[in-house]
């Protein structure tokens, strides 16, 4: 079922469902990744995988990655394919729902950014800005499962 999970972001716990995002992403993953010619680079995983992030930093990283996708990525992913555009809309609007839920952690002051998470986020932005905006956005969208796997 579209089951909610309890996500543990350091001290903060949030009940969310990524099922609909995964379904939307799975439906367009091949299409999106086919638009990413540079397979040797990664936005989220270079030079270190997200999996090296310590628990206290999880909330900060997740919160800023949600902002990254909403503010920078989705708007540069418009395609000529109506089906793909509709799925991207579905994912983007689901991100807004999750962003709102994660906001609860911020209100409880449990989403503070340490040195390590700040560095990590800077690296992701540097990776992103190292490409032209459309390539960077498509690559980031194509790596959405990396983020979802890490979150879960």
């Amino acid at each position: 079922t579209a089951g909610n999970k309890i996500f543990h972001f350091g001290a903060c716990r949030v009940s969310m469902s990524t099922t609909e995002i995964r379904a939307g992403f799975t439906a367009i993953k091949a299409n999106i990744q086919a638009r990413d010619p540079i397979r040797t680079l990664s936005i989220l995983s270079y030079p270190h995988s997200l999996h090296k992030v310590k628990s206290p930093d999880r909330c900060c990283i997740t919160h800023h990655l949600f902002d990254f996708y909403v503010d920078k990525v989705f708007k540069h992913c418009k395609t000529e394919d109506s089906f793909v555009n509709r799925k991207i809309s579905s994912i983007a609007n689901s991100f807004l729902s999750m962003k709102r839920k994660l906001g609860q952690c911020q209100e409880q002051n449990q989403c503070l950014c340490g040195q390590e998470s700040t560095e990590k986020l800077k690296q992701i932005l540097a990776n992103y800005e190292g490409l032209n905006v459309t390539s960077a956005a498509m690559k980031s969208l194509g790596e959405l499962d990396i983020l979802l796997d890490w979150m879960e």
Binding site: T1, A2, G3, N4, S17, T19, E20, G24, V70, D71, F74, K75, S82, F83, N85, R86, S89, S90, A92, N93, S94, F95, L96, S97
Partner: protein
Amino acid sequence: GEDAFLPAPQNISILSTNMKHFLTWTPVIVQGETVRYSVEFQGEYERVYANESWIPISECSLLTATVCDITGDISATVAYNLRVRAELGASRSQWGTLKGFFNRITTSLTPPVMKVVADGYHLLVELEDMGPAFQFRVLYWKKGQERRMQQKVVKEASSVVHLDTMEAGGDYCVKAQTYVEAINRSSSFSQTQCVRAQGDTSLW
């Protein structure tokens, strides 16, 4: 000839039941002509982050019917805008826009259809498959022992659910409600159904 003036569709509304959402409107009448319609949606993301852009629903482009299934596109619990326009040849009407937003959290949830079966001493329930968004909360008890009511949460309505092993000749009752996690809401309970286990209660 000169393109006909087309009025925008009126009485645009949403019918939303059990997480299935339909946009409907009253037809635009042009004598002797077939008027077609096109529907677009705009989520909160488009409104706030993507220059208030609108997204066409291809299944509802150049539609002759006056209803469009928007379920597939309303896939987040945020506020959506919806609009529809009439088209006849090269003529296009103004957009008719749904008054107010639509958020799937307002969908109406009906009690689940269920069938309670006494299979010998086994109390079983069959639940209607309402789609992946639905779970079921099933309550069951022995008649007269309402205070010892038990509960089972059923996450997939795919098959018959075994609730309990009954005492010979006992009467057992069941009721159920749906639960949709995506919107964190439940339906009201179904009608209670009671069955009797096989065997005779006066054996002792």
